[in-house]
């Protein structure tokens, strides 16, 4: 049970109930769709890139609490970042949830620790990374859909 409370922390449930930056924007210039064939979940990430800075990021889609919360937290962290910083954050998050690397959190990234419970549920890592993969694909800008498998 403690594992479950760790996975479904209040902060996750809150982002799931009221996701931030949710819904298609009026203006965007990079977008990518992410698809999880395991569950049929789809997320679309919209970026407004000015110069090399992400001025706006929004997402829409259907998914479990883990994928929605992860996407919502991601949008809060990515806005205002440069393209390089955004890619670095993606790598950081990936290493964190897959447990492949020991990572250290700066104060700014503290909200991400709410997703630490995912590391004990390997089947759910794809849920947590779906929106991040889509964000990276949007930066790549080739418009191709990404899949978790």
């Amino acid at each position: 049970m403690s594992d479950l409370r760790e996975l479904y922390q209040e902060i996750i449930l809150d982002h799931n109930r009221s996701p931030r930056n949710f819904g298609a924007p009026d203006q965007s210039n990079r977008t990518a769709k992410g698809y999880n064939p395991l569950c049929g979940d789809i997320v679309t990430v919209y970026l407004l890139l000015e110069g090399n800075v992400v001025q706006d990021i929004r997402f829409e889609g259907k998914g479990c609490a883990i994928s929605i919360a992860s996407a919502s937290i991601m949008t809060e962290l990515i806005v205002g970042k440069t393209e390089i910083e955004a890619r670095r954050l993606f790598q950081f998050f990936h290493d964190f949830v897959t447990g492949e690397e020991t990572v250290e959190f700066s104060e700014e990234l503290e909200e991400l620790t709410a997703l630490s419970g995912v590391r004990d549920f390997p089947m759910r890592v794809k849920c947590a990374t779906l929106a991040w993969h889509s964000m990276a694909a949007a930066l790549d800008g080739d418009g191709a859909a990404v899949a978790t498998e």
Binding site: R5, Y8, L13, A65
Partner: protein
């Protein structure tokens, strides 16, 4: 009539099993004595793949320990024993589905390969551009995609017979679709995502009286009720061994002898030939014509053992017991606030599919897992029917002979835990 009344009526018609000994059946399945996360294992995912009883495990082990050699090839003692066990399993399958001849039973890797074989061999030979294949709106992907291949390769037209909001085939609309260009109906016996039992006998009658062939996907039917292929009147019937408590990687295609005679081979290789020169090959007679290469010998023998086991318990007994558990499950789950059943057909078997308000199926699945409960979450390889009900995924609790009312109680308790966490 609301869903609960319907179920009560259905349950009244089928008396609760009298001679079914659930405790004894459970003891036959070694996997069930495990305790995931310190809880009793509540396995409610038999529609994805069923657990294996001791006699099946023993038969596979015995095959490898005592009578394994390649079949239909050696002249020595061991090969004779393996061949005898292998051919014996074909006869068991024939008898199990009451097919007229053992030569009409083709062993394949599973129902998926069976359908692909028919689409490729029968469809690739006898269906032309503009010919129509009709499927229902609640097919598994394995009974959709092979026909799409045929559409793309040969220009056939794939048509979809509609279902109503309860998840039942609209039979008069289906019948109205049968036209002069309709050549084949490919339809499930029991819908894997909803549990609907389709009126396959009526469907076969409607189609065959118009000269239309019928393929039936029996994967979700054979574990739950006795199936008589001659009574149904279909041309093709497929099912997988692993959903019938047998090994994975083995399945069955039944086809009428005269069709098997006309159909070209599906794959070329050893076992399927009469004689080979570089100029010309004569094919073996059915079923061997369709069984190129060394077959899944232990798997086939294990499937034979699974059929023996199911028959020793008795399909009528299993059916009555499972109806009781299913009816109990539907009644109790329907009482849970915010739970919506997906599929409320009057005639159903084995499956309860549902969604919970504001909680994604995968979150439900993870939380139930911590309670020791295994359910399937997702689209169940049936995305078109998910779309039909406006959902991307559901939670599916499916019932095998080893499930009881206590498993439903555990599920209901687990769902309360889900609601506690999600508030």
């Amino acid at each position: 009539m609301n869903q609960i009344d319907r179920v009560d009526n259905a349950v009244k018609l089928k008396s609760v099993a009298t001679g079914f000994d659930l405790t004894r059946v459970r003891e036959d399945f070694p996997v069930l004595c495990q305790q995931p996360h310190g809880r009793r294992l509540v396995f409610l995912d038999s529609a994805a793949s069923a657990q294996k009883p001791r006699p099946v495990i023993d038969a596979v082990r015995h095959c490898y320990e005592a009578e394994y050699a390649n079949v239909h090839r050696g002249v020595y003692w061991l090969s004779e024993r393996a061949t005898e066990a292998f051919d014996g399993a074909r006869e068991k399958v024939r008898s199990f589905v009451n097919a007229p001849k053992a030569s009409e039973i083709v062993f394949v890797r599973g129902a998926t390969e069976g359908i692909n074989l028919v689409a490729s061999s029968y469809g690739g030979t006898f269906l032309d551009a503009g010919d129509e294949v009709i499927v229902s709106h609640m097919e598994h992907h394995s009974n959709i995609v092979p026909w799409q291949f045929l559409r793309d390769q040969r220009g056939i037209v794939l048509k979809v017979a509609p279902i109503n909001d309860d998840g039942e085939l609209i039979l008069d609309k289906f019948e109205a679709m049968l036209g002069s260009r309709t050549k084949l109906v490919a339809i499930t016996h029991v819908a894997n995502a909803l549990g609907t039992i389709l009126p396959v006998k009526d469907i076969c009658h409607m189609a065959r009286s118009r000269g239309i062939r019928v393929l039936v996907d029996g994967c979700q039917a054979v574990p739950h009720a006795s199936v008589d292929i001659q009574d149904l009147g279909c041309d093709f019937y497929v099912f997988s061994g692993h959903k019938l408590y047998g090994p994975s990687g083995v399945g069955v295609l039944y086809a009428r002898q005269e069709l098997l005679e006309l159909m070209p081979p599906y794959q070329g290789g050893g076992e399927m030939i009469e004689s080979v020169t570089f100029d010309k090959t004569d094919y073996a007679a059915p079923p061997y014509k369709f069984e190129a290469g060394t077959p899944n010998i232990a798997g086939v023998i294990g499937l034979g053992a699974a059929i023996d086991y199911v028959r020793s318990i008795g399909l009528d007994q299993i059916s009555a017991h499972e109806s009781d558990v299913l009816g109990y499950g539907i009644r109790h789950l329907a009482e849970i606030d915010g739970l919506r059943l997906i599929g409320e057909a009057r005639e159903r078997a084995g499956v309860i599919s549902f969604v919970l308000d504001n909680v994604h199926a995968h979150d439900v699945g993870t939380i139930l897992d911590q309670e020791g409960i295994a359910v399937r979450t997702g689209h169940h390889c049936a995305q078109p029917v998910m779309d039909r009900f406006g959902v991307t995924s559901t939670v599916r609790a499916s019932i095998g002979m080893y499930n009881g009312r206590d498993d439903i109680d555990a599920l209901a308790t687990g769902l309360k835990r889900v609601k506690d966490i999600f508030g």
